[in-house]
């Protein structure tokens, strides 16, 4: 099913090393739209990354740093990058070899279109 978010996720997944791109509800962690390679567990990434992003946002607010706009989690076997609006966040699952700088710029640009 195609939604108005399809161009955003399809643009993101074209980056080398990106395995999936999703638009996710910030509060509930549910997928609104996704473009995923086969084998990527979108639901788990959506739920857990939204939760982490919420935590980072609350913590940074409480620490006096203001709201977070971009988050990157690097692990031994991959990365997850997130950027968001107030209601929706973009979640990108990628390999460690991805060009994070380029992805970050595009994520932040795309996130500006989110409510």
């Amino acid at each position: 099913m195609s939604t108005s978010f399809a161009p955003v996720t399809e643009s993101l997944i074209r980056h080398r090393g990106v395995l999936g791109a999703m638009v996710v509800g910030l509060d509930d962690g549910l997928i609104v739209h996704s473009t995923l390679q086969i084998g990527v567990n979108g639901n788990a990434f959506a739920a857990l990354t939204a939760s982490l992003y919420r935590k980072a946002r609350r913590s940074s607010n409480a620490a006096g740093f203001g709201a977070s706009s971009f988050l990157e989690l690097t692990a031994e076997q991959g990365r997850v990058c997130t950027a968001g609006g107030k209601e929706l966040v973009l979640v990108v699952v990628c390999e460690t070899r991805v060009n994070v700088g380029l992805l970050r710029v595009e994520l932040l640009r795309a996130a500006e279109q989110l409510p």
């Binding site: 567990n41 857990l48 940074s60 006096g64 203001g66 988050l71 989690l73 692990a75 031994e76």
Partner: protein
């Protein structure tokens, strides 16, 4: 409160993180002098229950005991927005205003508190102290410092605070933070300055936190000289806990780094032995620089730990 009671409250809170057990638990820890742990409990309580006045009141009292007067003021003002007739908040603000030499404000807050709670004899005594000082100031307008004994006012408000103030006035630094002297930076030691040379002046900070989010080394010094490392560490350490939880389900192995950008800062953190290394920098500082500082700081932290730091 006995240790068993604290343990029971801790267990109740662990079983149900949304419960209100954090209020008596945080208060018990504060009274016992475990201010850093109390702070973490209170911060998480406020995070979960931002509209509860008792949560903000608890955080304010802990902040005051830690000497973080600015935070205490913010929290007690939050209490008053939620419960305009909160005598405890008025009392606390009165005490802080006195500490800061704002005697008129102190008198106003204490008067308001006394109106709300006329039975509280300590308030009347505190107000009398402030009014006496105001009268003296009236006869000696050039006076710049509050010369009334802090101990006298503290005694009227909080017995434990009085004890700390007495130590303070005697020139003794007690191990728990002393009330009202937060803004005076303690002498920097090796641990607190461990990462200073890696940083870009005062616009960035590096901290090594233990598994409980307590600061092992490093500092976060604001432009006005206050060290907010404990507060920042307590707040942001929860992010790494959340990351560790997520990694158990995502099949990506262990997390090695988290970077996030906020309105005011770029923050990078990475696991370090049993704790977390955290670097924060004001937004104009590029994210790549923050990551590099994090890598350098991690190596230095590891060396410092090996040397028994």
């Amino acid at each position: 409160m006995a240790n068993d009671d604290i343990r029971a409250l801790s267990e109740a809170l662990a079983a149900d993180p949304a419960s209100l057990a954090f209020v008596p638990l945080g208060e018990a820890l504060r009274r016992r002098g475990d201010l850093e742990v109390a702070l973490r409990v209170a911060l998480r309580g406020v995070e979960r229950h931002p509209t509860r006045a008792d949560a903000h009141d608890l955080l304010a009292r802990i902040s005051a005991d830690r000497g973080d007067l600015e935070r205490a003021i913010v929290e007690w003002e939050s209490v008053l927005r939620l419960v305009p007739g909160h005598a405890g908040a008025r009392k606390g603000l009165g005490f802080i205003c006195f500490q800061l030499g704002r005697l008129e404000d102190a008198a106003a807050h204490l008067s308001a508190a006394l109106t709300i709670d006329p039975e509280d004899g300590s308030l009347a005594a505190a107000l009398q102290t402030v009014q006496s000082e105001l009268a003296q100031r009236g006869t000696s307008p050039a006076r710049a410092t509050v010369q009334v004994s802090r101990q006298a006012l503290a005694a009227a408000i909080d017995v434990q605070a009085a004890e700390r103030a007495a130590l303070l006035e005697a020139g003794v630094r007690s191990s728990p933070p002393t009330i009202g002297l937060a803004s005076q930076m303690h002498a920097a030691d090796d641990a607190s300055t461990l990462f200073d040379d890696l940083l870009e002046g005062q616009r960035s900070a590096a901290m090594l936190l233990d598994a409980d989010g307590l600061v092992l080394a490093g500092r976060y010094v604001t432009a006005d000289g206050r060290d907010l490392a404990a507060l920042i560490g307590a707040q942001l350490s929860g992010v790494s806990d959340e990351a560790a939880r997520a990694m158990r389900h995502l099949g990506l192995g262990a997390w090695t780094q988290i970077v996030f950008e906020t309105d005011a800062a770029s923050v990078a953190m990475a696991p370090s032995q049993d704790g977390v290394m955290l670097v924060a920098a004001a937004r104009p500082i590029p994210l790549g620089f923050v990551r590099r500082v994090l890598e350098h700081a991690l190596r230095r932290a590891a060396a410092w730990m090996r040397e028994g730091g």
